[in-house]
Symmetry: C2
Subunit: 705 residues, 2 copies
């Protein structure tokens, strides 16, 4: 770690007060300017290679029941610039080591009419800016309530945005590509139905928000290290193109309960004239604290299958019986009711999945619907909805565990909470202990439906606090967490790498609920994945869902090769092969790629990228010489030339290319693929067609002959 003090440049006005202060990124391309106006309100602005990225934007807070808001009357008490350059090794990740290099400006402000101190901390990386508010311990400020955070992000133009509706309860929306000025007109249509949703404004959108300016700048707004604070949305003034932070409120409409010393999460602005640099940015991770788990040896990337898609498609059920209208755990007697015959999590069925996982080299099997309570789990605002430890009569936990162990397969636990957060916390210790006792090392948790306590929302400070509690407590039990419907990630996985996955976006399940846009997966890496890995559950080979369940006419808007590519393009240490085993058996050659592709990496190369249109990424397997390339495509077919200059010089490789055929199409002909091999080296270029909603996947392994 290096902290070097740099001489400050102050720009003094006539009165002698500090008017503006400038900070440059290590490479000099980004410049952030801080200034106080004549009312003592702090502002910042950002430019990239002399182009305006963020116009002069206000900063501060409205406080509840306080005579003085933290918004003006500030004077600079001290300031300083330091530089930091350090490289750290993540437990898992897109690369084996990550450089954390920034120049930092600390501005200590004193409010003249309250004598309170507010510290603004700006970290300017080559790829963007992070800043946060800090509230040091002080006599004039101990406890306070933020009624509004007034951070502005003043856009320099009517950019094209890739956005989903701002919502206190869900991010499971399809992305819309539109001008900022068009958001208002489209919003109503964009707010599609969800099991729990609370949108708040016709111009409110979620982070991470991806934008592109007319002159080709890529701008991404998000936050890092969201801990004990409400999630931030962005509310657009579509006349001025100024976003303001819009925090998720509590039941009283208050935003954040604060205590000194304390601070907000980091607000992040990634910017580049090359979209690939947005994907390569490590701002979000770097702004989080280093790993707090001492022994991380138990944290391991996982490739898994699961008793899941058959329920998602409606072929089988989570519930064991259709005879219980209102389950009372501990009272309802499952041995006295008639099984419905469609229950997915039966011992027999699970064993088939275990066999399949073992045969094809997967690490683990997830089983949903294994525990009692699914008969009435949703929509009743039910408090005691699951106990997380009692299996259905047809799920023989011990037998399954022994069977899996004998085959070298891990079982993945499932904790659906139905949004009943208090109930989960009440049972958490026992549930985690049960996992320890029964050999489960990872849990998929879920927060489907409205939150209990009633009146609260998925992204409020109170519930954000819960997700963090669950992660930290899981770490105490050496349990890895994959939380669905939780708040979108903000790089917490650096500090708690047992958080190996999150959903927090529209995942593959929506392909069985009516379908997602074919270019969805070209956007997610620029939005949802900025915060951390997603359990997207790719790998669907049968796109016609009615083949699985005749009552379900949904279509998976993706070619088969697009599905393969996702294992590379959608970075995650947790990757599912989501389709039914029988569907993989129908396409054993294509399935080879899923079997082979690793889930941990030494290096990642972002070969080409344009949000909404296409994405090609190459990654080198962790501790091995193999490379994997993935391409996902938007609506227009393309031919991609992949230069393999990243390969080791002078070394021979064999590339296996899984590509769309010329007549492939996400809708009309999704299963049209061809597989070929080429002998390649670092001078080679692979030319490959990619269909609408298509893609390709390439494995490149040393030619050992």
């Amino acid at each position: 770690m290096q902290k070097v003090f740099i001489v400050l440049c102050f720009l003094y006005g006539i009165t002698g007060s500090i008017l503006a202060q400038s900070l440059r990124s290590p490479d000099g391309n980004l410049e952030m300017v801080f200034e106080l106006d004549d009312k003592g309100t702090p502002f910042y602005s950002l430019n990239y290679k002399s182009q305006e990225v963020i116009n002069k934007s206000g900063m501060g807070f409205d406080l509840k029941n306080d005579d003085v808001d933290l918004i003006d009357n500030f004077k600079v008490e001290s300031s300083g610039i330091t530089t930091f350059d350090n490289t750290w090794k993540p437990v898992w990740g897109e690369e084996a080591s990550i450089r954390n290099h920034y120049n930092e400006m600390e501005i200590k402000l004193r409010q003249q009419n309250s004598n309170r101190i507010l510290v603004l901390r700006f970290r300017l990386f080559d790829s963007g800016l992070g800043f946060r508010y800090e509230f040091p311990e002080q006599s004039e400020l101990a406890y306070f309530v933020i009624s509004d955070e007034k951070t502005e992000f003043a856009m320099a133009g009517d950019h094209t945005a890739f956005w989903i509706p701002g919502d206190y309860d869900t991010q499971e929306y399809d992305y819309t590509r539109s001008k900022l000025s068009e958001i208002r007109a489209i919003m109503e249509e964009a707010v599609t139905e969800n099991l729990s949703q609370t949108s708040f404004s016709p111009t409110g959108v979620q982070t991470a928000l991806m934008m592109k300016s007319e002159n080709g700048l890529y701008i991404n707004l998000h936050e890092a290290a969201l801990v004990d604070y409400p999630a931030m949305h962005l509310e657009l003034d579509d006349k001025t193109m100024v976003f303001e932070s819009w925090l998720t409120p509590d039941v009283n409409g208050d935003k954040a309960y604060m205590q000194t010393p304390g601070h907000t999460p980091w607000r992040t602005i990634i910017v580049s004239d090359d979209a690939r640099e947005v994907l390569a940015s490590r701002i979000t991770l770097n702004l989080n604290e280093p790993c707090k788990i001492e022994d991380t040896s138990w944290i391991k990337p996982v490739k898994y299958i699961g008793v899941w898609w058959e329920m998602i498609t409606g072929k089988s059920s989570w519930a064991y019986t259709n005879e219980l209208a209102a389950v009372k755990l501990g009272t309802s007697d499952y041995t006295k009711v008639k099984p419905n015959g469609t229950h997915g999590a039966t011992t027999e069925n699970v064993k088939k999945y275990i066999d399949f996982a073992a045969k094809h080299g997967f690490d683990a099997v997830l089983v949903e619907g294994w525990n009692i309570g699914w008969e009435d789990w949703f929509g009743h605002s039910k408090d005691y909805v699951f106990d997380f430890v009692t299996p259905y009569p047809d799920f023989d936990l011990k037998e399954i565990h022994n069977y899996a162990q004998s085959k070298g397969i891990e079982m993945i636990m499932h904790h659906e909470t139905s949004g009943s957060v208090r109930n989960y916390e009440r049972h958490m210790d026992e549930a985690y202990k049960f996992m320890n006792d029964n050999g489960y090392h990872a849990v998929k948790s879920g927060y489907v439906g409205n939150i209990l306590p009633r009146g609260d929302n998925h992204y409020s400070q109170w519930i954000v606090n819960h997700y963090q509690y669950a992660i930290e407590k899981a770490a105490d039990y050496k349990i890895m967490v994959n939380a669905h419907e939780a708040v979108r990630p903000t790089g917490i996985c650096r500090t708690y790498p047992n958080l190996i996955g999150n959903e927090s976006a529209r995942g593959t399940e929506y392909q069985a609920f009516g379908g997602s846009k074919p270019n969805h997966v070209t956007i997610l890496p620029f939005t949802r994945l900025i915060g951390g890995p997603m359990d997207y559950t790719p790998g669907i080979f049968e796109m016609d869902i009615s083949q699985i369940n005749p009552d379900n006419n949904s279509h998976v808007n993706s070619t088969l090769c697009n599905q393969l590519a996702l294992y590379v393009t959608m970075y995650s240490p947790l990757q599912m092969a989501a389709d039914l085993p029988e569907n993989y058996d129908r396409f054993p050659d294509a399935f080879e790629f899923i079997k082979e592709v690793p889930v941990d990496w030494d290096q990642s190369k972002y070969l080409e990228a344009e949000p909404g249109d296409y994405l090609t990424i190459a990654r080198k397997e962790k501790d091995r010489p193999n490379w994997y390339v993935g391409n996902v495509n938007g609506l227009e077919s393309r031919t991609v030339k992949v230069s393999l200059d990243f390969l080791e010089k002078g070394k021979k490789y064999i590339a296996t290319i899984y590509g769309d055929t010329k007549d492939a199409h996400y809708k009309e002909n999704p299963q049209a693929y061809e597989i070929r091999t080429e002998k390649v080296n670092n001078k080679s270029t692979i030319k490959q067609f990619t269909a609408p909603g298509g893609g390709f996947a390439i494995s490149i392994v040393p030619d050992e002959k």
Copy 2:
């Protein structure tokens, strides 16, 4: 247990539908009539010795988001009357065995326009009526939300009531005696300040509500077995004198989330023309379920002292330091701050209390302010406010435990939650385990201040559910609970006798906060104590609080003998001697009564009673021949003749009488008492003066000479 079917008497109308159905109490004095009106709305009424007690009163519910409320269109599907007579032995109580004798009417109603079934269950005891609504498992009703319970209690006149304001957060009010019609005019004045309070209506009052009719009927309205349902208040229509149930709402204004099979708590109406019978009624306990704890050997009544009054009076502090404005548990370093020098829970001070307890034969010592976090515990809506396991640096837990053990003294744990309910639940297992590990067998818990989660209230279904959770979990750890600021008790202690105390009313602490009305303790047994024992913390000998803390000018509105009497009149298996040891040392002769008086009983005799005016009770010590008599008096001095006809015939006793002197007065001369002994037998009468706000206490032990 006996269940005898009794032939039903139906009164048929012209149309052949059932118009009314009658139920009589075992002694015949009470008659309850159930009827359906021509709209199919159920009604009940109650009379006592042919006097109207409850006029025809409606029953039913408004449901949320439901086309059909459970209010009318009912027809009687079946009905039946049974009788029940059984005697059970409480683990502790006012008497060694309790008779549970009632006639029960079950009315099964079917709603014609919904096909739903509602069961009304009436239990008529000699001392009053209990009834509840039951929702059997059925196809047309699984989950529902009660937006309003419409149970009416139509009074037959403008009775005199002893009431406190209806409030979602506190019962810590002084009682007002007024006509029902006068409540509205007095309400504003009656809502005195409290650390957390939410009154809801100018005619809303709390249960247990005590009333007296002009023709001398004593009527008490309350509820029994409040489990997983909001606490009921009473909203008065002061034109018609009809009360309607007013349930504590949740943040959305909803009242109760229900699931079938399920039921409400019991609504209770105790009635008699003799006020003593109200005190002798065991309706509340009898309507609760039998004990659910198998081994109750660890549950024992407790007489205790505590490091408490010195903080209440302001002589010492709960907090260790004045230097921490905002504590962060786990981060704030108490070894680096300056102690404030007023901290009460120091090892040295606690040892003095242990010495005193051992010297005078007490069972236990309570210590408040022993654990870190008290510097900023109140008023900040602070989530992580206490951890319940970390002592202050000057509280040597092990040393104190060893010292107490060596002296045969138990330590009582203290868990103040500051209303932060989630935080308490998160730490509960660890806190209870910590108690087990460190030899604590009882905990005083507290819920001072507004509830977290924010927007919720002390008496909502959600938080009522928490108190129950805490009691049941404590039972798992063999821990006895004394919960302060929790919901008022409703006889739950029959089912969970580890609930040995509650506050839930204006306790003795208010005598150091400005004082309570001198006749307060003549009312509490008719109101708050109907639901269960109260940790009233009596035994104050120094009435001038400025003698303890010169900055506190509060006066204890009670004579010293009134304080002694409370150990008999305020039944509780948990009794504190609340004053400072040095104040007991000043009055060693009077202190003898507190040392001697037991905390568990074989029999209780209610010798005379008039709410607001006076109360004289005699009780026989459990498994011993000794009797104790207590009298508390209202505002007018009296001379009481206590007939000792309850003593064993032919046996000689010595009575020691602790009485007010003729010039005693709660305000002017509270410490004026005299002690005398008399030789007595079952033909004796003791004549004793009792001053305004005064009282007397008598111990009667066999004359062994």
